[in-house]
């Protein structure tokens, strides 16, 4: 589904990604872990097409198409979703109008008719229940005045509305208490199908108790230095990143 080869990217002239290789297939859940500043968020931004970042080398294909040539909205239409670490507040734009515009833009891209108002409201109601999002929040401006937990739930709600093929969840667990974490994780699990895939970016093992990844990558200084099964997360929880980093550095030297 997603193939990334030797991807390099910079922001403000500074190289953050220094040769990422990644392969994601339908039905898989990947976790990307790593210490602060290792490039996890940059990777998610680059895959989603944030114009602030420049890809200097390498390639990324999504379902056989060149991802890097697509504008961010086309990537979204093709089925790529990014759950933001810091969801953006947009005062004056109601959630309802925002989501309706998003759904109808996608339908236009796929050559479908716009969704009727009744159909749309029904869909909103249905998807809201997945993450227990209050109907009052849905009628407010996008993320404005939402608590940290509400913002993250709102991200998963939007993911449910857009039904992406590949969801990249950037630190969706940060700032959540245990209950909110469970609700968000359960939401993500409900949306899993054999056809779609998820990349979870996180610092901690905690989220992975709820969302079970098959494959875990450790990102360090812009490269994936280790890839293994779920047991790697437990190892990191117990012993931290240091020994993995040392291991990788030793391997590089020898």
């Amino acid at each position: 589904m997603l193939t990334v080869k030797d991807l390099h990217a910079t922001i403000g002239g500074k190289e953050i990604l220094r040769g990422i290789n990644l392969e994601v297939h339908p039905g898989e859940v990947h976790a990307i872990m790593g210490p602060n500043g290792s490039g996890k968020s940059t990777l998610s931004m680059v895959l989603a097409g944030n114009p602030a970042y420049e890809v200097t080398h390498g390639e990324a294909t999504f379902r056989g198409k060149n991802l890097l040539e697509m504008t961010p909205d086309v990537r979204s239409h093709e089925g790529l979703f990014l759950g933001f670490q810091y969801p953006v507040e947009i005062p004056g734009v109601s959630m309802v109008n925002f989501m309706r515009a998003a759904i109808n833009e996608k339908r236009k891209y796929l050559g479908e008719e716009p969704m009727s108002a009744t159909e749309f409201l029904k869909l909103m109601r249905e998807k809201r229940s997945i993450v227990d999002l209050d109907s009052k929040l849905a009628s407010r401006s996008v993320n404005e005045g939402f608590s940290g937990g509400e913002k993250k739930r709102n991200e998963i709600f939007q993911m449910a509305m857009l039904e992406p093929r590949l969801a990249i969840l950037d630190e969706t667990d940060s700032g959540l208490d245990v209950d909110a974490l469970r609700i968000v994780a359960e939401g993500v699990n409900k949306l899993r199908t054999p056809e779609n895939a998820t990349i979870v970016i996180t610092h901690y093992q905690r989220l992975l108790d709820y969302i079970k990844p098959q494959i875990i990558h450790v990102l360090y200084k812009g490269r994936i230095i280790k890839t293994a099964g779920p047991e790697l997360a437990l190892e990191i929880e117990e012993r931290g990143f240091d020994h993995i980093i040392r291991e990788a550095e030793n391997a590089e030297k020898s």
Binding site: T71, S76, E105, A117
Partner: protein
Amino acid sequence: MNALKQYIDLYLANRELIDRGSAGALNALRPAACEALSVATLPRKGSEDYEHTDLSAILSPDFGLNIARRHLAIDPAQSFSCRVPSLSTALFFLTGDTFGAADRARAQLPEGVIVCSLAHAAREYPQLVDRYYGKLAPLSNPLVALNSMLVQDGVFIYVPRGVKVEKPLQLVSILNGEIPMMAVRRLLIVLEEEAEARLLCCDHTQGADTPLLNLQTIEIHAGARSRFDLYELEESSRLTSRLSSLYLAMEADANLLLDGITLFNGRTRNEYHCTLSEPGATLRLLGMGIEDDSRTLDNYTLIRHEAPGCYSDELMKYVVEDNATGAFSGRIYVAPGASKTEAYQANRNMVTTPGARMFSKPQLEIYNDDVKCSHGTAIGQMDEKQLFYMQQRGLSLPVAHTLLKQAFMADVIEGVRLQPLRDRLRMLVDMRFAANSSDHDCNTCAMQEQTDSNA
């Protein structure tokens, strides 16, 4: 060359004709206005309060005036209807400077309320008109002097003591002409003690190919504890110029909302001179300008706090695009002795292209302690983070731009105190940003156009 000279000559050559087409107080003020004008010079572009409006250029063309009071061939009610759905109004028309017959609308008003032609009022209610006409707008303002010298008609609105006009008044003004025409209008609005009314003025232009000029002066007397909303909505054409001077005096505990909305225009200069002359007066002044192409909007506001315990709150917002120009000059003046004044002013602007220009001059002049005042201005672009977030969810850049521009105006729209008008205005603003402005046709009112975008 003094652009005023042609108008003075016109007046001197046609005094009798002009007087014959008008009456009483309007005629009585003309000689003084002419005298004031003959020694006046138009403020140059770049001078203190006219930094971005070239009055001389606007007034120089040889505009025709309908001083002979010829009936125009159009029947506004036939060719035009401006409706705000679910907002039922008492609807009046002003074509050029001519007030249309409005018996049906008048029948909906409470007893004692007068809404009529100003010239008619000067004949029928001379004591009233004499008492209020020309008392707020000073002839030292050349635009007021020019208006006072040439004006033959306009609208008189009078709400007697304690009367509440439930039904909003709506005044649809239409400018038109086969040749360049100038409409000289006067609005005289009097609210006695505890009177209440709301007025929606919709300004339109028919015939987008002719340069037209609207020279209007508005005087509003707000009595003690009166309540009044004035919404002015300009939807004119690119060749239309508007020079509007509004003068407001508020007595004790009066509560007013002034809202100037410029959706479509050519060159516009709006002046608001507001005086809170007795304690407890409350004024909310709102404004919105959507300027693209090479349109120009210049709003000048002066709010004078002359008595203690008054409150004013001003919010003006502009979106300036293409090669358009926006200007805002706002001054709050707190007189000696005006303790416990609360006065706030904010001007926020979104400038979307390198060719667009916004000029903002917020000013505070405070001559008393014990006041709460603030002023602020901001000029910025669209937020990159918001744009990326919206794109990530599948909105194309143009759609994201439109949504952000619409959202930018949300708080000005929220300030509208008439729910149906608020809803309608939201839709008009949405449509304004969503559609190419060259699609705008002034022969059909945007208030009428229906889309299902808001369904």
